[in-house]
Symmetry: C2
Subunit: 228 residues, 2 copies
DNA sequence: GGCCCGAATTGATCGATGTCAATCGGGCCG
DNA sequence: CGGCCCGATTGACATCGATCAATTCGGGCC
């Protein structure tokens, strides 16, 4: 739960500026945001914000992974998005006094930039590169979320795992080796599965030429996997 | 499959202008869009566009309901959103040459406005009310889609049905009566259920004071339903 | 008001996945 | 180098929801 906060260092600034969201901003908007962003380091499992809290800022993830989730009445928590380096989350820029509609937790040691919503909103009024960047980011999130929803409803667990693997295979490869960037725990959450179900899905894929050792996954026949 | 297309009539223009998306536009942007929009009437079950087609335009629904869905390799189709009057869909404004990532079908007789993406994109560059409206619309869709995804992963079928009903009950009512605006078929798709599963969910809710007759649903104790 | 067709319900069954419990394994620290 | 601990796997089971088939219902139309 360490919580070291300070002005952006050179390294953080450069990471932040390379982000998909920031990269397309005008020089002036970029420097305003770089100057006002707070850089925050957080230990594994620390909470970044909680469902229902007031939402004055959104976040840009610099390093590590973050879990976005909601809680059911019974206390069960459900992930619906896993953010990685460069991702923006909590784009709650509409309606001044919004509250976060979900919680965010660092899945490991993490470094995020905290950006004031009001600032961005005002900037977007004057600078079209800012509003365009917002539109682009939102469109992509909408598309990605829709994709996840459809996958959930359409595909079985092994199919979803296969999809995930194929997404990060070179398109034309005959065989491939992938290293998961995080624990299987997180992957399970991403795919809407219990960890046990993820394990079983991997087992089921063994017969399709997928072998797992720790975080490393070998795919002997990419084309065959596509047929699943 | 009738397909009568013409310039916006007075009635269509007024419907279109009252849309959430259009309402907040500047006078000038509004009139540009009203003038360039094509109004199209479509018979029940006609296809508006198909997954993979080139996407030069997005749509604003004036009357009726539209199903957005994707097809699996096996031909099964999965709804992920049901649009009603006033809804905008296929906001595919990013990246010039995008293709529709899903298909859209009229669930009944329908009237839509077809709006050129390029036009809106250009308008947004100059007119902040346009980009703000886009940001608002996209944010809301993202929030709604996330909500659906979380509901799917978190709640059982009767709970999702109860949620749907409660969403359209007066907040403080003791009892309520709701008339579905469309066939149960569509509702099932919205909730990610097979029609049979929707039926069974309604049966399960009988013991919680929910009774169904055709499209009319009586809820004897709203508060009790919230506890499900 | 009655007929008729498509929609909705109901029943039976099966497959998929969540849950709980026990065991295994790997990496990290001493 | 060994032990410990947490994450991963496996097994057994319960539950949910999809599917297929048979029937009933309801609403639109004459």
């Amino acid at each position: 739960m360490l919580d070291k906060s300070n002005k952006a260092t050179a390294r953080s600034r450069s990471l932040l500026a390379k982000t998909a969201f920031m990269r397309s901003l005008s020089q002036s908007a970029l420097s305003v945001l770089l100057d006002s962003a707070q850089i925050i380091s957080l230990g594994a499992r620390s909470t970044i914000f909680r469902e229902g809290e007031n939402a004055p800022a959104f976040y840009c993830l610099l390093t590590g992974y973050v879990r976005l989730y909601r809680m059911g009445k019974d206390g069960r928590q459900v992930d619906f998005r896993i953010c990685g380096p460069g991702d923006v989350f909590a784009e709650c820029l509409v309606s001044q006094d919004a509250r976060y509609p979900y919680s965010a937790q660092a899945a490991e040691t993490v470094c995020v930039a905290r950006i004031d919503c009001r600032e961005v909103r005002q900037l977007a009024e004057r600078d079209a590169t800012v509003s365009t960047a917002l539109i682009t980011t939102l469109s992509e999130h909408l598309k990605a979320t829709t994709e996840v929803l459809v996958n959930d409803r359409l595909h079985t667990a092994p199919q979803r795992v296969a999809d995930y693997l194929l997404d990060r295979c070179p398109v034309d490869a005959g065989s491939a080796s992938i290293r998961l960037p995080f624990q299987k725990n997180l992957l399970a959450g991403m795919l809407g599965l219990a960890p046990e179900a993820l394990s079983r899905a991997f087992s089921a894929l063994r017969s399709a030429g997928v072998s797992v050792r720790g975080r490393v996954i070998q795919i002997s026949d990419v084309k065959a996997l596509r047929e699943i």
